[in-house]
Symmetry: C2
Subunit: 117 residues, 2 copies
DNA sequence: CGCTTATATAAGGCAAGGCTTAAATAAAGA
DNA sequence: TCTTTATTTAAGCCTTGCCTTATATAAGCG
């Protein structure tokens, strides 16, 4: 399944948003998604599988829990594809520069800790 | 249709790549796509419709020709969504920073007046 | 005017993907 | 070990989306 197909589903996008904050157990993700989308737990599990198999997420077992985390590689791919269109919104580039300048120090500090937030 | 759904289709992504270079007539796009994907002209036309209706492309009539061009708004949306994951690939950010720094001087020169900063 | 060229729309078939319920696997604790 | 909790897998249904062929619209030209 192609990266963009994976991101085509709103549930999967939401799951990634949740994981972006930090590692989460399948059950915790399920609880939120079930609440927000009204779908069953197995449905969520199937989405997690898609994310896993397409490389968007990695899993780690801890007892009976499965801890999911974002794997950035495919997102980077998506980002790379967008590259060729960046010229179309010059203003945002400026905004991004500002953002980068602001975040640079922060990132440098965070880098050695390697923790989430 | 959500932006990510639109980009989920390889044909539509390719069409956008073609349009990224510059305005193109429906027929020219069709010729390339038909050649590369082996689908019919109406099929291409339907993809163009999706791009049009979802705001990824705008059209302009010139005689019997329809000239399509990239409309960046939805792509910007996609880019914005990715924002929250950018922290996951520090190296690329650094590369982008370099790129931006390089481009900044250029833009500033072109702009002749003060920039932000 | 018709004929041709450029493009879009319509209708129908088929495949892919997402959801559900039911069942399997596996750790953990009484 | 039996039961409970956490999670995945399986099977089947049903919708959505893409493609095809056929047809419509409309400009350009002889």
């Amino acid at each position: 399944m192609h990266a963009f197909d994976v991101l085509g589903d709103p549930v999967r996008r939401r799951i990634l948003e949740l994981l972006a904050v930090g590692e989460q157990a399948s059950g915790d993700v399920s609880a939120v998604i079930q609440d927000e989308f009204g779908i069953s737990q197995p449905a969520v599990s199937q989405h997690l599988r898609v994310l896993r198999e397409s490389g968007f997420a990695s899993v780690r077992a801890e007892g009976t829990r499965r801890l999911y985390a974002v794997d950035a590689a495919p997102l980077r791919e998506v980002d790379a594809w967008l590259e060729r269109f960046r010229g179309f919104w010059g203003q945002r580039l400026d905004a991004l520069e500002t953002e980068l300048a602001r975040g640079k120090r922060e990132r440098r500090a965070r880098k050695e800790a390697s923790g989430d937030e």
